[in-house]
Symmetry: C2
Amino acid sequence: MTTIENGVRNGVDTTTLFATIDAVKAAPAAAQFQFRASNRWISGTHSQGTIHGYFGVGEERSHDHVFTADVDHPTVLVGSDEGPTPVEYLLHALAACLTAGVGNIAAARKVILHRVESSVEGDIDLQGILGLDPEVRNGFQAVRISFRIEADAPAEVISEIVEQSVARSAVFDVLTNGVPVEVSVD
Amino acid sequence: MTTIENGVRNGVDTTTLFATIDAVKAAPAAAQFQFRASNRWISGTHSQGTIHGYFGVGEERSHDHVFTADVDHPTVLVGSDEGPTPVEYLLHALAACLTAGVGNIAAARKVILHRVESSVEGDIDLQGILGLDPEVRNGFQAVRISFRIEADAPAEVISEIVEQSVARSAVFDVLTNGVPVEVSVD
């Protein structure tokens, strides 16, 4: 049984969600965020990333927990397979971003979710990064994500929720439209 | 003291690295990879991603370990802060990809690395994803990454290694140039 109290739906406090949107509307400076990560090389293609601090709603903040995760290339690519590859984290980010959007948007539209699962895959021709074919790009050539959703709503309503999540996804925007990246060596 | 034996440098077995590149050159089909991730919604904006299987060098493969990681929005964005945000994983992926490249390229160029650290930051105006300003994009407006590297090489050589890593980075390519993403609901 799903309980709905005080506007909490799918674990989303919609009262607070709408109040937050109104607050940002009234004071747009609160919407300026800066997210960060750091990374420390360990050996070969193995490194460890850390995510903790960020800036938002006018001040320095940090997540409740320090997050660390290892990254590596698999042995078949001459790594030591100490963690996922960098490109797999892009796919992971995409699935999580669209799923968070589905959670929020379903709640806002009064749709109760029972299950949201997704699978994402990206095709990559390593002749690019190996420098073997100048016609082959370094990154993914295509990415596909498929959702399996059970909710108290017809299929059409569920599809519209996913569409709206795509339309408001930060990761989908970055992956499909790109972003300027500046690299420096101190 | 850094020991160099059998072409192993910075933890990179350069003999195997060059042999792998030659093998792919001779049989380009081996370069066709597909990376994957899956995701399961937990509550609100909180989900958990899993990375394990992939396709490469002509067959189905899997990483030595099943990787799982939680993703959430922070409480200030009406999440429960059970993990990093989706966009932070993009920054994490960028730093790790360029760092892996630095490890490999330095080894190939016979440069011994002592330390490779990086910090990456991305600016985002949440008026985009909150739907408050149609002129504001959903994703990052700019991303910056800075490296601090100690190696047995002059600063110019270190900078060239980073430049080459950027030139052959899968994540840098995807983030700066974008990739077609197809979304479906089963």
